[in-house]
Symmetry: C2
């Protein structure tokens, strides 16, 4: 694989220019380019520049509005709603996460319902931000049906990621962010290309039979992680990020999507809780003692540890040259 070295500033500048060029206004382009740059900084390549062609495609097609003007409103002191105005989610987050944090700090907990938004990033940028405010956070979105509920052989659930953040004493929060699908479809495609098998439980073939052959799964469906229990979690996310926040489940989101290669319109559920108010005790001493025990176990790595280690490196990043060429091609006139 040929790569080129780009500094984090160059990554940001390229993303920003591509988004502006595709029709995003400066505020919108900045919010998305920032999230893309943070992903590359942390080594989360699948949420970095890799997403720019999709971001560009949906701005170009007009499905996503380049001048979206997300509006925050309060349905109660603890129920916040942000209408994304059909823009990308990072701008909606920028206009609502601080208000969510303030509501949770003051009242003990608060929720943010996002609707009419296009989410194409990881979830940790929002949960980590809330964790840095000293809050416990959860977030989930439902995304494009490609996962069969446990027992079935037809897709109904999205890959439906879920993220959780827990604030830590004087450091970055403990954060996990995971799809509830057994594996990302991209990883199945890589296994197929490289001739590797995938673990049992990853997916079904076109006839609905279990298989460890990734080529067969590509023609069939993915399964949720962890059998029927993971399937329950995936179902819960459909309900939380869809009907609960005033949006639709992923099958309905897909049915109105144009298929332009960018993310469909959907919702996001975000919850923030203030442990100082809920616990009434020294919660941080308890959680730090617990996490120290967990971290001390042989074979255990705390979630996000790898991302946080990558973050220490302020130097350039190696970016796939083919991807760079593809992004730069979007910049040329016509």
């Amino acid at each position: 694989m040929t790569t080129s070295s780009l500094t984090l500033d160059e990554i940001y500048a390229l993303a920003h220019e591509a988004l502006l060029n595709a029709g995003a206004n400066a505020e919108h382009a900045d919010a998305v380019a920032d999230v893309v740059t943070r992903a590359e900084r942390d080594g989360s390549h699948s949420h970095g520049l890799f997403r720019i062609p999709g971001y560009v495609a949906s701005l170009r097609s007009g499905k996503v509005k380049g001048d979206a003007d997300p509006t925050l409103s309060k349905r109660s002191p603890v129920v916040l709603h942000c209408d994304g105005d059909l823009g990308y989610a990072p701008l909606a987050h920028r206009r609502s996460l601080t208000a969510l944090a303030e509501a949770a700090k003051e009242n003990g907990l608060a929720t943010l319902s996002l609707t009419r938004t296009h989410h194409f990033a990881a979830l940790w940028p929002e949960t980590e931000t809330l964790g840095q405010y000293g809050l416990v956070a959860m977030a989930c979105v439902s995304y494009m049906p490609s996962v069969a509920p446990y027992g079935a052989s037809q897709a109904l659930y999205g890959t439906n990621p879920f993220s959780f953040a827990w604030p830590r004493a004087g450091g970055t929060p403990l954060v996990f962010d995971m799809a509830t699908a057994s594996m990302a479809m991209g990883d199945v495609q890589i296994a197929a290309r490289d001739g590797h098998k995938v673990p049992p439980g990853t997916g079904l073939n076109a006839d609905g039979a279990p298989t460890t052959d990734p080529k067969e799964i590509i023609k069939g469906v993915l399964l949720p992680f962890g059998g029927y229990k993971g399937s329950h979690i995936a179902m819960m996310i459909e309900l939380l990020a869809g009907p609960l926040v005033g949006e639709t489940a992923s099958y309905a989101s897909k049915s109105r999507d144009s298929g332009d290669g960018g993310p469909p319109q959907g919702g996001e559920f975000i919850l923030a809780m203030n442990p100082d108010m809920l616990s009434g005790a020294d919660w941080q001493a308890e959680s730090e003692a617990f996490l120290a025990r967990l971290d001390a176990l042989e074979g255990v790595r705390l979630p996000a540890e790898r991302r946080y280690a990558n973050r220490q490196n302020t130097g350039p990043r190696e970016i796939n040259a083919e991807l760079l060429a593809k992004i730069r091609a979007t910049l040329s006139p016509g």
Copy 2:
């Protein structure tokens, strides 16, 4: 297996008498016997009369207070706390779930932190109750370390069940309630007795190596469901039901437990959300359309369907005769 037929009234009466006899006051005995009877009614035998010997043991030992007086307080309009006063959880629930539901209805969401309580029942009684109020609910407890975090070979997590309820139009709520351990230790013991293998990923032997031999797992540890992703959920539950609510993680709960056979002291995290307020849309039409699609898939059974079907049967239940003899023996003087 020899069984005896008992009506639901007889099941309640036996549980109530055994609890009174062991030192519970009438209110405490009624709250616990009611939850035990609902479990038998629904066919959840492992949370029915099967638990009475454990309930009795901890009342007898004095670890659990038979005259516990749980106290509800509000830390904010949406943060409720119930100090269980070292009694069994059902009495604390009886004194706090209605207030939690009212707070969630009025403000959009609310949480209940339970501390100094002994939880020995399923979680669905509390989430289903909140679902019947028209609320979306989550609940979790951490219970007795017997599960090794993913990658490790020593137990640190409890079996850590999680329950979710979603209100349905004119019917019983959609509810799931599941341990985040791969399998209950009781089921591993049954497999060992019957000479069956257990699925890969269930547990490790005493040397920390994966095995499908249940006898080896009994000497070793259980694993979380679903590999590292299920392990993340189990970790989250340790934090929510422990430090967040003002209690301890399960390893610390165990370290102060007397080992009398009953449940250790611990916490519970309960969240209730009002979909009418969060969604601002016709959430029920969306969720019913989604659930109809899910239910129509071949091979899919909605969670709690079996329990709700059992519930239609108002006739007597078959109870293990050995268990009945054991419970009745606790009633005889000295």
